[in-house]
């Protein structure tokens, strides 16, 4: 029983990373209709920058994390403005040609950013210097909760809640959704579409970057390929949760993490990812609008 709860907690902490990353990933997909292959690289770069901010500049931990998040957001804006903006002339967000073009430019950025990250890390897997981050372990009877797991879970709650609030309660959120539906119409409606797009890209990169930093710390692995693992599972969380639904993404991320850990503990670690992706497929087939989306949908 003790093992069960310990693994449940591990699964939640792991899933919180997927959920966090997924929220950033889903933001771009929901707002701009872009399947962004470069999203993982935002996470890698945020972690690399945050690590060097501590290692080389000696910044205190919270400041370094903030610097990393900023870096993730700025890389995202760069990719958006160089790689996606020229393609928006195709028309509204979800046009197939635009989606395809953006997928390809995002692949191009993925290749470049990951390769550059390889140079930045000297092709090594590095880590945050031991002792530079909170390493305390909270004990409650037989249960233990390392500080980084607590921070990750809190991060998901704060970011997820914050984004949900922005999305549903603020003018900015409404503007984001308007741009998602149709940038031209949104422009006519008095929303400066370009500003909204840049802000969305920044948020998306910052959130995925935050996930990258947390993942880099708790797995003691900061490398060019850090983002890739997050990317595949984060993508699954987005689809299962419903790509425009932040609550759904957060819960789906947690569920995927728990599923993954329990599969490895109680079933088979080699089929573990198979379960996660089969769940993803199942959701696509049966509830393509995600956890909280309406089940029915029509072909346009």
């Amino acid at each position: 029983m003790e093992l069960f709860f310990a693994q449940l907690l591990n699964g939640c902490a792991l899933g919180a990373l997927y959920g966090l990353f997924g929220i950033g990933f889903g933001l771009v997909f929901a707002t701009m209709g872009i399947l962004n292959a470069a999203q993982g690289a935002y996470a890698s770069w945020a972690a690399i920058v945050a690590m060097y901010a501590i290692d080389l500049l000696g910044l205190p931990f919270p400041v370094a994390v903030l610097v990393g998040i900023l870096a993730g957001g700025m890389v995202a804006v760069l990719v958006d403005q160089i790689g996606f903006e020229p393609l928006r002339r195709f028309g509204p967000g979800l046009h197939q040609a635009a989606m395809l073009g953006a997928l390809i430019t995002s692949i191009a950025f993925w290749i470049m950013l990951e390769s550059a990250a390889g140079f930045a890390t000297g092709q090594q897997s590095l880590a945050f210097p031991p002792g530079s981050y909170p390493a305390a372990v909270f004990h409650a009877g037989p249960m233990m909760l390392p500080a980084m797991q607590a921070i990750t879970l809190a991060g998901l709650v704060v970011v997820g809640g914050g984004m949900h609030w922005i999305n549903t309660r603020t003018r900015f959120g409404a503007a984001m959704r308007a741009v998602g539906w149709d940038p031209v119409a949104a422009g006519l409606g008095g929303v400066n579409a370009r500003v909204i797009v840049i802000a969305t890209a920044f948020l998306s990169g910052g959130i995925s970057g935050f996930a990258g930093i947390l993942s880099g710390i708790s797995t003691a692995n900061v490398s060019a390929s850090l983002g890739q693992g997050l990317m595949l599972k984060g993508f699954a969380a987005v689809v299962v949760g419903g790509y425009d639904d932040i609550r759904g993404t957060a819960i789906a991320g947690l569920a995927l993490g728990v599923l993954e850990v329990f599969c490895a503990q109680y079933l088979s670690s080699s089929w573990r990812d198979g379960f996660a992706y089969a769940l993803l497929l199942g959701f696509l087939m049966l509830r393509p609008r995600g956890l909280f989306g309406s089940a029915g949908f029509t072909r346009a």
């Binding site: 897997s125 372990v137 670690s269 080699s270």
Partner: protein, 376 residues
């Protein structure tokens, strides 16, 4: 007496000077690197070792004064298709006499038939699948896994007498599966029961859950059979969860980069290794470590030693040939080599094209980042 001494000296001098010698000039060796891609962390060490070897061979006149060895590097990026293309470009250059390649066994397996078809000597520097070498063209300078793990297992079983063992195994890697099985057999023969096997995958990065799983098995000893990144992550995760019991790992955690990353939690975790800049003490090893540190600014690791050895083997083959050698002649010459002259391991016997390294070093990191001999 004097005459006999003089005669002996003359004979020694005659033996020391080859009866025939290579023409002066540059002899090209093709080298498929993995300096980008997922294996770049090791790939860069392999090629740095090889570059050092080529520089030393050329500068020192090992194959004759003015006879140089030129390394021609092409990128394989850890990808089979790209490695094959790079390899074909290397051997299409007729002045390339020998080639060296490959960290991954499947890629080595894919290049081997090309080497055989084109009759080009190929010295494999990293991949360790059994059966790769094929005389007279394909050689491997890296010992097959197994003996080292068995030796370490016996050593640990004798020294620490664990009753129960839990294993971490990279389930999607054949070489580590083999190492694990060899070790497990040795441990069980010594009376240490297996209480559980925790499988992880190559692409995994989060080891908190596997660590929790293993700790719950309450073993006397945890043995880690995975590649570098997972091994480092597992040790860190197990220690972070407060488990202080005994752990062992493998040579993947020997590079300095691993300690820089993980730090004190690595202390006291033994690993078997055939080369370590801190523990290898033969004169050739010391020379290599000094020269490498001078050239690259950091100490070599086991990978750079392997890349270095591969090029020295080729040079040794070339040295035994006269005039302008051919690929076929070089292959024949290589097949006659049974002992590597210039090795950093303190003895590198080669049988049937496969080198055997003698793993004699059982080392561990200390809390302040030094490598010392392991004691329980």
């Amino acid at each position: 007496m004097l005459r006999r001494t003089l005669a002996a000296l003359a004979a020694a001098a005659l033996l020391a000077t080859p009866a025939f010698a290579l023409d002066a000039g540059a002899y090209k060796v093709g080298f498929v690197t993995d300096n980008t891609g997922p294996l770049a962390f090791a790939g860069m060490s392999f090629s740095r070792g090889a570059e050092l070897a080529a520089a030393q061979i050329s500068a020192g006149g090992y194959m004759g004064i003015g006879t140089k060895l030129e390394l021609v590097e092409k990128e394989g990026a850890g990808d089979a298709a790209r490695s094959i293309q790079s390899y074909n470009q290397l051997i299409a250059d007729r002045s390339v006499l020998a080639t060296s390649c490959c960290i991954l066994s499947p890629i080595a397996g894919a290049l081997k038939p090309i080497a055989l078809n084109n009759k080009v000597p190929l010295v494999i520097y990293g991949a360790t699948a059994p059966g790769l070498p094929s005389l007279p063209y394909v050689y491997s300078v890296t010992g097959l896994p197994g003996p080292a793990e068995v030796a370490m297992s016996k050593h640990i079983a004798a020294q620490a007498k664990p009753q129960t063992v839990a294993y971490f195994v990279l389930s999607d890697n054949e070489a580590f599966q083999a190492r694990f099985k060899a070790s497990q057999a040795a441990m069980e023969a010594a009376g240490a029961k297996t209480v559980g096997v925790v499988n992880v995958l190559s692409a995994d990065t989060d080891f908190t859950a596997p660590a929790t799983q293993a700790i719950a098995l309450k073993p006397d000893l945890m043995m880690v059979y995975t590649t570098q990144s997972p091994a480092a992550g597992i040790v860190a995760a197990v220690r972070a969860r407060g488990w202080t019991g005994m752990m062992s790992a493998n040579d993947a955690i020997s590079p300095a980069a691993v300690f820089k990353k993980i730090g004190p939690p690595l202390a006291g975790v033994p690993f078997p290794v055939n080369f370590s800049p801190d523990a290898s003490e033969t004169p050739k090893a010391k020379g290599f470590i000094e020269a490498y540190t001078a050239k690259h600014g950091s100490a070599p690791d086991l990978y750079s030693a392997q890349g270095y050895t591969a090029i020295w083997l080729i040079a040794q083959g070339l040295k035994s040939l006269p005039g302008k050698p051919t690929r076929e002649a070089l292959a024949t010459a290589l097949s006659k080599i049974t002992v590597l002259e210039h090795d950093v391991y303190g003895g590198l016997p080669i049988t049937g094209g496969q080198a055997e390294t003698r793993y004699t070093l059982f080392l561990n990191w200390t809390a302040d980042g030094k490598i010392t001999a392991w004691k329980p």
